[in-house]
């Protein structure tokens, strides 16, 4: 089964709430510029129908993304992707990111994932989401 680049997949048995799985994956697409400003996402109803979940779950994910400045929500017309100026990350955010990354690496290493796989997955994800953005710039 081939999966479209713009397809989202959720796991109902995951400990991560479904609305967060949806928001995380759409955010990843927005960061990777799979959707450009001015494009519309499908309506809450349509995504909920396609995923087989409650409307409120998808609405919550869209609301979160709207609060982060990615989307503008219009009733009945879906969500409009808006251009979003990248905020300047304060040290607190960077520290939290570093900590979460370390925890994640430790978690998957403890689960037996080999170091080279972790490295290649990390690089692949960074390339997919960031492209050549910020390459060579220091901290």
């Amino acid at each position: 089964m081939s999966t479209s680049r713009k397809a989202i997949r959720i796991d109902l048995s995951s400990a991560i709430p479904v609305y967060r799985q949806i928001a995380d994956q759409i955010r990843a697409m927005l960061v990777a510029r799979d959707f450009n400003p001015g494009e519309r996402l499908p309506t809450v109803r349509q995504v909920a129908v396609d995923l087989g979940v409650n409307h409120n779950t998808v609405a919550e994910a869209y609301r979160n993304l709207a609060e982060e400045g990615w989307l503008s929500l219009e009733r009945g017309r879906g969500a409009l992707v808006v251009s979003r100026s990248t905020p300047v990350a304060n040290p607190k955010v960077r520290n939290a990111f570093a900590q979460r990354l370390r925890n994640l690496i430790a978690q998957v290493r403890a689960a037996g994932v080999p170091p080279q796989v972790i490295r290649s997955e990390f690089e692949e994800a960074a390339t997919a989401l960031l492209g050549r953005e910020g390459k060579g710039s220091g901290r």
């Binding site: 479209s4 796991d11 995951s14 129908v49 087989g52």
Partner: protein
């Protein structure tokens, strides 16, 4: 003797019984690869000898159902001669249901946990709004026919024709009374509304395949076209008493209906294997393997696990409201037919 009772047979209902049984015979091949008799199974199970044995027994049951239905349609029970047509279909369907439930019970030991993974393709868009207009157009026609009938009551023929032969001449009439005339139109309007409800629901309230699946599996589009074709056919029938000769249009619609039905039967088994193993629904939500009840699923229509097309999600309150709204005119029409028959 049943076989000497051919003169009393009901040819239309005999055909209905045979068509239903033929479709039911094919149904095991139409399921997705990870589903057998509405039970989630490993795709390898579908290739196993055990599954082949269950299918063999199921098909014997379907053949038996056709035989039982035909016996009733052939007038084996003179006590219910007037109702032998609908009764033949009921008998056939009941025996088929038994065969299905037995096959399902035999498949249960091979059940595996249904996947909790769900997928949605954000690049797919809602169907174009013009399709909604296509669904509504026959209903507008029906409303226009009602208005025309009301405005031109004195010009209506008395008796009022309600059935036409293949030569285009009326061969059945009723007395021209408001109850009879508007009863017939109400019955046709009810059928058209029901078809429109399903057509619109399949288009806008059903789970869609991903773009990749959509590109190589045309079944849903043909299925929707079949419902729309039937809706247009009913609306065309309603205009007949106005004096229009709609036979050419009706013949085209009938040819399209036949072609799309045959196409569905041809592409159904071929396309089923290329799709993802399951239809993204939990096993627990399928009551008796046929009725879908899942309040947590936003879809009003979901793909059937066994059979053709979609079924309603009975877990949604709006499903019941819509069913009641669509069935009310049919109930009225049935009461009307009963009153004419008596």
């Amino acid at each position: 003797m049943i076989w000497l009772n051919v003169l009393h047979m009901n040819p239309v209902w005999s055909l209905v019984v045979l068509a239903a049984a033929s479709l039911e015979y094919l149904m095991p091949e139409l399921s997705r690869p990870g589903v057998a008799f509405s039970v989630t199974v490993a795709p390898e199970f579908r290739e196993s000898s055990r599954h082949a044995r269950i299918v063999r027994w199921y098909r014997r049951g379907v053949l038996l159902s056709a035989l039982a239905g035909l016996i009733v349609a052939f007038g084996a029970f003179p006590q219910i001669e007037r109702w032998s047509g609908p009764a033949s279909f009921c008998v056939q369907y009941t025996v088929f249901l038994l065969a299905f439930l037995l096959a399902r019970a035999a498949t249960m030991p091979s059940r595996v946990a249904a996947s909790d993974l769900r997928e949605a393709d954000l690049s797919r868009r809602d169907p174009p709004a013009v399709l909604a207009l296509l669904v509504v157009a026959p209903l507008v026609t029906m409303a226009a026919v009602l208005f025309w009938t009301y405005a031109n009551w004195q010009q209506l023929p008395d008796p009022y024709p309600i059935h036409w032969g293949l030569d285009g001449q009326p061969d059945m009439w009723i007395e021209r009374t408001p109850m009879h005339v508007f009863g017939v139109l109400g019955l046709l309007g009810g059928v058209a509304a029901l078809l429109a409800f399903f057509g619109y629901g399949f288009l806008f309230w059903a789970r869609r395949n991903t773009e990749a699946e959509h590109a190589r599996y045309s079944f849903p589009a043909v299925w929707i076209a079949l419902f729309l074709g039937a809706e247009y056919f009913v609306a065309a029938c309603a205009t007949l008493p106005m004096g229009f000769d709609v036979r050419p249009a009706e013949l085209i619609i009938l040819a399209l209906l036949t072609a799309s039905s045959l196409y569905l039967i041809v592409i159904g088994p071929a396309g089923a294997a290329s799709r993802r193993p399951d239809n993204q629904t939990p096993d627990e939500a399928w009551k008796f393997g046929m009725f879908y009840f899942n309040p947590g699923d936003a879809a009003l229509f979901v793909e059937k696990r066994f059979g053709l097309g979609w079924t309603i999600n009975f877990g949604q309150a709006r499903a019941w409201v819509l069913i009641a709204l669509a069935l009310a005119p049919l109930g009225f029409g049935f009461a009307f037919v009963m009153s004419i028959a008596s």
